[in-house]
Symmetry: none
Subunit: 547 residues, 2 copies
């Protein structure tokens, strides 16, 4: 079982993505997480390029990592300069890491057109930079930028660059498909040729511009690569880098390579969600291996086959990467599905219980009305608990009124909501203005309830989706609103359906609040009792619903 080293560049190449910014704090948290997950190298940044990265390396010096090594990244020395006087190289040494990676040109066109120097000088730049760093650092890696394109245009020169790096003492040479345009068979055959010419350990760095980032990395491993560079969730400039969250399970579970251990593998889903959270992106539901939908099954045929043998429709056991099989609630065909679902929620229920039959009837009725519980498992759990007599009433609805008024074409409309609820036998009437009718409703409702339930302050609204239901002839169009809410421990989806968008939103909002007050504390308790979980950081106003 060959050992493959996992080299993460989420903090450097990943943060080049146009919509991603990490604070230094974010970077440190991610570095720790990567370390816990068993990643070998963590490229922290390019200290020569910006002060934030200098700051990161300064802070990281004082921190302990279990096994990962922090890497500083930079480029070869400038043309016609001495290596020991090159500010970029000295900045790298100042970062004080045990490992340094520098990139250099291996495509002749780039040397002449982008660098505007001659081919021999570039060879000297590579060699002298590595020699200088090697004198002062434990481990030095050389990233051969645009290697595959370079090799296609001028194989002789591209190889010369690698040999210069090898002779200068590089510990690793990493072949980069910088523009992401190579095909897997090209990567495989070029890599194999190179491996035959060199003795140094080789790595691979790919990009996803042809949707082949993962495939190209694997092709290189087949041809002898012993290090894979990439980012968590494939984030990065343009179409992103090779996605390590997919590469790792492919290496480990499909190719039998040695990288993360089984316990670390089980934390891949968590790592993936964590990085998205800090990057302020919603997690990709369909993400291979770790997405919420990756092992979700609907359709009676699939579900009954899955029950007989999970291998029928699952390429791996989802638990190996911390994921799980989901039987989609919309296709509730029978009692056994309900029992299965109830167990997921930690509810003890027997399929012989007459309540299960009642619940089935209730669900069928709701689905006929247009309710759908995919993505609204919070509402589903509320229905289930209600049927089991476990739903607590924290307040009673009396009424609401919403007014939206626009008086001039170039004036923003005014949205105002009045809400009446009964709490502990007392009628509360509150009103609020909002950025839109639903925002106004939300504000008025919180105003009425927070006095009694201060924990509502912890709840944020993350997402709001509206769909017009495909009306069958004759019936009137209905609207389904899906709301995603959460607190510091968890997220939950709720649903509302009505011909009126305001009412549908209202229903979903009420469910979200009831969940927060009645169900969320139970799950938080169960979770805390099973094992300690790191708390999600609360992001302030970002998630406020403004509609």
């Amino acid at each position: 079982m060959p050992v493959i080293k996992i080299y993460d560049t989420t903090l450097r190449d990943g943060s080049q993505a146009e919509d991603i910014t990490f604070t230094v704090e974010d970077k440190i948290r991610i570095a720790h997480k990567l370390d816990e997950n068993g990643f070998n190298y963590i490229e922290g940044g390019w200290p020569g390029s910006n002060p934030k990265d200098v700051d990161f390396f300064e802070k990281v010096k004082h921190l302990k990592f279990e096994q990962a090594q922090i890497v500083a990244f930079g480029s070869t020395r400038s043309p016609r300069k001495r290596a020991d006087q090159d500010p970029n190289l000295n900045q790298l040494l100042k970062a004080g890491t045990e490992v340094i990676t520098i990139f250099g040109k291996s495509w002749d066109m780039h040397v002449q057109q982008a660098l505007e120097t001659d081919l021999d000088e570039n060879l000297r730049m590579v060699a002298e930079s590595i020699q200088y760093l090697k004198k002062n650092t434990e481990e030095v890696m050389f990233d051969a930028e645009h290697f595959f394109d370079g090799y296609k245009h001028n194989p002789e020169y591209a190889l010369k660059v690698l040999k210069a790096a090898e002779n200068a003492g590089a510990d690793w040479i990493v072949l980069c498909d910088t523009n992401g345009g190579s095909m897997p068979w090209e990567v495989h055959s070029i890599f194999e040729t190179v491996a035959g010419e060199l003795k140094v350990k080789l790595g691979i760095h790919t990009h996803n511009d042809s949707e082949l980032g993962v495939a190209n990395a694997l092709a290189a491993v087949k041809a002898g690569a012993r290090q894979v560079q990439g980012t968590v969730n494939g984030i990065g400039e343009r179409c992103g880098n090779c996605n390590l969250i997919s590469v790792v399970p492919n290496l480990k579970l499909k190719m039998g390579m040695d990288c993360l251990d089984a316990k670390q593998m089980k934390k891949l889903k968590e790592l993936s969600a964590f990085v998205d959270e800090l990057a302020n992106r919603s997690h990709w539901n369909h993400q291979p291996y770790v997405g919420k939908s990756a092992f979700a099954h609907k359709g009676g045929v699939h579900v009954s086959a899955i029950r007989k043998n999970r291998e029928t429709y699952e390429h791996i056991e989802p638990e190996l990467v911390g994921n799980q099989t989901r039987i989609l609630v919309s296709d509730l065909s029978g009692k056994s599905n309900i029992v299965y679902k109830a167990q997921e929620f930690g509810l003890d229920i027997d399929s012989a219980d007459p309540k299960v039959q009642e619940l089935l009837e209730e669900l069928k009725r709701a689905e006929r009305l247009g309710f759908q519980y995919e993505g609204a498992e919070g509402s589903f759990e509320l229905i289930m608990r209600e049927a089991l007599g476990q739903r607590e009433e924290h307040f009673e609805f009396v009424g609401f009124r919403v007014i939206v008024e626009k008086r001039k074409e170039d004036e923003a409309p005014i949205a105002e909501a009045t809400v009446k609820v009964m709490v502990n036998g007392v009628q509360e009437v509150t009103a609020a203005e909002g950025d839109g009718p639903v925002n106004a409703l939300d504000k008025a409702l919180r105003k009425a309830l927070t006095r009694f339930y201060p924990e509502l302050e912890e709840m944020s609204l993350y997402d709001y989706k509206v769909r017009i239901l495909d009306e069958s002839k004759g019936t009137s169009a209905k609207i389904r609103v899906l709301l995603e809410s959460g607190d510091q421990n968890a997220k939950w989806g709720t649903v509302g359906v009505s011909e009126d968008i305001i009412e549908a939103s209202w229903q979903a909002l009420i469910d979200a609040i009831i969940y927060k007050l009645g169900v969320a504390p139970r799950h938080a308790k169960e979770k805390a009792e099973s094992k300690p979980q790191p708390k999600l950081e609360r992001r302030g106003s970002r998630f406020h619903l403004k509609i």
Copy 2:
């Protein structure tokens, strides 16, 4: 240059994704778009599985497609039944398409455990189903479900199934990696072996569970596949299908295969955005080839190199797939795009005209606000005509007020709208109740205007979509409403953006009405003058907006 047939299953396998629902109208619009883009086969649905798909095939019978063939999808006959008495097969024939695809089992474990029948009976099911369909249909394809997994477990039996299909007269056999767990080298070697054993044309159908959907399809083409099945943007169950929007440029631009022509290639980005729009998903910025960020460059080094030679950091010319280079600092693009777009609307405009520059500014301003004109070409044309001084004012907006009130938990809310407009110097104030606030607004507005413009009676509202815009930190969430309207001649999409959902709906509604009054008659006239067109069927009250 081998010809590769592109087989799209967005409307069938794609719509299995848990978060995607297409209406029959959506499906028809997508089918036309795929046809224009040069896709060869369009799998429309599984008529045996649900009434919506039956409806789709009924409607599609009366429509004309330029070159694509519509395909009905289903399964082999049930065990121990006669093929000619199998309701599923007969339902397929009733769909009346020239091409039918059926799937069948090729993995022995599936035959025995999922189908619960014996291996020989499965061979008969495959053979007899194909024979029966072949008697009544032009072209029959056989999808060998789980072929690669089946072959790995029992190669002899898996091949037997394919031979049964070949001998029964299948025109194509398509090898499916149903669970998406295969590696590209496995797909390549198994495909090559199979190709050596059979004479029939072979296709490939892959899934993305290992983030290798595209790579696996290409590996099969390298081994002899002449048809690739997949979906637009890779949408589909679990982690999705093979993404045709990436496969096609890889085939055409990287492998030199013959599929779409150069003009159709240029519409890939538009197609990709269009399908996401109808699926109510935001377009993936980092999507290979067609994403907004796919050719976006930041960082001084990249940008200056790009200016010298685009090949330095771009693996293809983005224009080949309808995309463009974006330099993130100073994003100058566009005049030629606007002229191109104007020509599509039959507008005569010269790129030297200063109005083009004004229009560009206006569009940039609107895009910053969150407007987006993919799927809202009606609004786009209005902006364009306004810039050219061709927008007619039929009425003047004064104000509106909407009230939604709910007084008891089990009582439907009341929605009421008041609208003030000036028509021909006269102020009209009207009020109406509706099924929801937007419906009430729509009714009140029509009440005010129909007296002056009776042709508004011809206009129906077909669809209404709402999206919360993914905003960068600090700014408040905005809502985009997309409305689809139409009359007996055409359909048009309009858009509104606001923090208030009612106002966003109002904007889209106003645009739809202005388009109906000012633009629709022009196009109807042009159309009538060029060639007679079949009239779209008028949809009565079914499409009334009730929200």
